[in-house]
């Protein structure tokens, strides 16, 4: 905090100085009652800074300063070498840790699965919008999981998906061998992502429905009159009309996937089996909370921060570009 406040303050006087010079250049009129005006003008000039100060202070002390500290810690050692600068060795350790590499690979997998996670609510919202029989019930049913906490969802689903659980029993009845949903490294990550999508797509569905309400109904009617099939209606009328909504859902789903899977992972897999469901945030928690390696955890956080920054910037650029096309 000490380091940052001077960098904010000098800007005030500097600016103020600049304006006064300009004022002085103006002819006579402003000079009458100079004392009062200049005090009032100074107050007016300072007002914006005073008004934004709380927000800036909160951002700086609670966001930026911890960020700087975290980056800083990532260059120090753990345990016996606590507090001593170790250069890049934490980052080298991360690069050499198969578990961390798995966690980054899983981030990549999440990005790849993103279109699926957006398509599901989009498709279901379309059906509701087109008034399939029972659409009112579906609207409530689809939204229902969104009100449950990830811990509750995780606990319930873990019970359902247990090796000797009800789902495998049902599969057994129709003659399909039991699947170790959460115990097989090949399926566990997909299971967790599937559950996450199921638990959160209600929100995206609502956003889609809101988007539909802005859709011009006359376009749809026109398409129908012209004899367009359902697929053609979706392809040529609904999707173009919802570009903005789809973009928004893409961004929010991405953020949700990358930042709020911890609860599910914690309850459903503990990062296992064989470390196959690790995500960076789980890795960070594990190193800091379980293995007592705060500096290594800081390094992993920094890497995660950079990844999120890159992904976020890429999305913003993408959105701007498509926005311009509109």
């Amino acid at each position: 905090m000490r380091g940052t406040s001077p960098s904010v303050r000098p800007a005030g006087p500097g600016r103020a100085g600049g304006t006064t010079t300009r004022r002085e250049g103006r002819p006579g009129a402003a000079r009458t009652g100079a004392g009062r005006t200049s005090r009032g003008a100074r107050a007016e000039r300072l007002a914006p800074y005073v008004l934004v100060a709380p927000a800036v202070l909160i951002l700086v002390t609670l966001r930026l300063w911890p960020l700087v500290l975290g980056v800083n810690y990532s260059f120090t050692g753990d345990g016996a070498s606590n507090g001593t600068p170790v250069g890049l060795s934490n980052y080298l350790e991360l690069a050499g840790d198969p578990l961390f590499r798995t966690s980054l690979r899983n981030v990549g997998l999440l990005v790849l699965l993103l279109p699926v996670a957006v398509a599901i609510p989009g498709l279901l919202a379309t059906f509701i919008y087109l008034r399939v029989p029972g659409h009112r019930v579906y609207r409530a049913v689809y939204f229902f999981p969104a009100v449950l906490s990830p811990v509750i969802v995780g606990a319930i689903v873990t019970l359902m998906l247990g090796f000797d659980g009800p789902l495998n029993a049902a599969l057994g009845m129709i003659g399909v061998g039991p699947v170790d949903w959460l115990g097989d490294p090949g399926t566990a990550m997909f299971t967790v992502v599937g559950v996450h999508v199921w638990a959160t797509f209600g929100m995206a569905l609502v956003v889609f429905l809101a988007g539909f309400s802005t859709l011009d109904a006359s376009l749809l009617d026109a398409a129908r009159v012209d004899g367009a099939s359902l697929r053609q209606v979706v392809r040529h009328v609904i999707v173009p009309g919802l570009t903005r909504t789809i973009q928004f859902v893409f961004v929010t789903t991405m953020i949700g996937m990358l930042t709020s899977m911890f609860g599910l992972l914690f309850v459903m897999t503990n990062g296992g089996p064989e470390g196959s469901t690790y995500l960076p945030e789980y890795y960070i928690w594990h190193q800091q909370g379980q293995l007592n390696r705060p500096a290594l955890a800081s390094a992993a956080s920094t890497v995660l921060f950079v990844v999120m920054l890159v992904v976020g910037l890429a999305q913003i650029t993408l959105l701007r570009r498509t926005g311009r096309l509109d």
Binding site: Y73, F75, V86, F163, W181, G183, G275, P294, A295
Partner: protein
């Protein structure tokens, strides 16, 4: 533009500071040790349970007698978050004065935040057992409350159904496997209830069966830190683990079954004949008693796998109370630790919470046949094998054990990786 300036300022500050300061606070003596302190804060994950109520009462009464005017506040933390919270407290050097720890890696990794207790607890040394789990480099950092170990429990009802003598459990590995196939044939129950979702199954397996695999000499060396990972007997532990999986001795879906507490339900409900359980807290005689009648719960020693091995009960100090380095009055806090481990308090704890207390002078005759079988073994028991390993090695072992079960790695590769991890820590 302005944002770019701000960003580069942050970057510059970050780079300028890079590598200074420390992620965890460096030790500096906390002053004011003699300033009259009126309150001691204890952190644990036990005191909130109704079963611990009498224990807390007795501790408070005992301490109040010796230090009237000092209040003791128990703060029960959720166990899932306990060490994360403790780590945060340790970094800010503001936290509890006295705190509960699991023995082994959990306390050793955090010893630099703790006060050595040796001068304060000298009088309790012979009365209590299990000190080793709270000792690092010859210094004791906590006083044991319970003993934690890994007896092998078996279901006598299933033995009877299979025509086996429940009073005479198998003594060698071959007999054990034969008994298992008899049980399987007669009742359909698996041999061993195994939960390895968190990677704990291998720890229980290693410690529960280790004394029947390693020779006494190897066992002693392992505990003393001279671990020979190239020894065929060490390799045998992991071979046996893989074999048990391959031959279908384990309960189904071991890698997705949680040790706490799904696997104990598997044993209780008679779906497996044996389980390598615990002595205290959960997964033990009292816990099983909810579903299995106490006289149907047997306790056996590890079956002998290699000739020359002498099976013994693997146990260590389970949980114990430590004093934070930053406490204002170390003597007072250490005195509270003595109250926390007084004979009276421990009697109350073992009776209501279901634990084998560290105080071996406590009368356990009313606690049932399983306890009666465990307590005499404490004298000859030895520290559990997995407790000697660092948390990092244990973490790796958990993942490798899952790979061994699923067949995605070999015993040789796993042992090699573990040896490297063990040497590094």
């Amino acid at each position: 533009m302005k944002r770019r300036v701000l960003c580069s300022a942050v970057m510059a500050a970050g780079l300028a500071l890079a590598g200074c300061g420390s992620a965890a606070r460096t030790g500096s003596p906390s002053g004011n040790s003699q300033q009259g302190q009126q309150k001691l804060v204890v952190w644990d994950w036990k005191s909130g349970e109704p079963a611990a109520a009498t224990y807390v009462e007795k501790v408070k009464a005992d301490f109040a007698e010796r230090h009237p005017g000092v209040t003791v506040e128990f703060v029960a933390q959720p166990f899932d978050q306990y060490y994360t919270l403790l780590g945060t407290a340790a970094q800010s050097r503001k936290g509890p004065d006295v705190m509960l720890f699991n023995g082994g890696g959990q306390i050793r990794d955090r010893a630099d935040a703790l006060l050595p207790l040796d001068p304060y607890v000298a009088q309790d040394r012979s009365r209590l057992a299990g000190w080793d789990a709270f000792t690092k480099d010859g210094r004791t950092y906590a006083a044991p409350v319970t003993l934690q170990g890994h007896p092998i429990y078996y279901n006598k009802t299933l033995y009877e159904k299979a025509g086996l003598d429940p009073a005479n459990p198998p003594r060698t590995w071959d007999e054990f496997v034969r008994a298992c196939s008899a049980v399987k044939k007669a009742t359909g129950a698996a041999c061993l209830a195994l939960g390895n979702k968190e990677g704990f199954g291998i720890q229980f397996f290693m410690s529960g069966l280790g004394s029947g695999i390693l020779t006494p000499q190897e066992y002693g060396d392992w505990i003393a830190g001279k671990r020979d990972w190239t020894s065929p007997h060490v390799r045998r532990i992991f071979e046996l683990w893989k074999d048990a999986g391959d031959k279908g001795l384990n309960s189904a879906g071991a890698n997705s079954t949680a040790m706490f507490t799904d696997v104990f339900r598997v044993f209780e409900s008679g779906r497996a004949a044996h389980v390598i359980g615990l002595m205290s807290d959960v997964g033990h005689w009292k816990d099983f008693g909810e579903f299995l009648p106490p006289d149907k719960i047997g306790v056996m020693t590890a079956p002998v796998v290699t000739g020359g091995a002498t099976p013994s009960l693997p146990y260590d100090g389970g949980i114990g109370y430590a004093v934070a380095r930053w406490t204002k009055d170390p003597r007072l806090a250490a005195d509270l630790v003595r109250s926390l481990t007084s004979a009276d308090a421990l009697t109350a704890f073992s009776a209501s919470a279901g634990a084998i207390a560290s105080d071996t002078t406590i009368d356990v005759s009313r606690a049932g046949p399983a306890v009666a079988a465990i307590v005499p073994e404490i004298r000859t028991g030895r520290p559990a094998l997995h407790v000697a390993l660092s948390s990092k090695t244990l973490d790796l072992m958990g993942r490798l054990s899952q790979q061994l079960l699923s067949g995605s790695t070999t015993v040789d590769k796993a042992v090699k990786q573990l040896a490297a991890a063990d040497r590094a820590s």
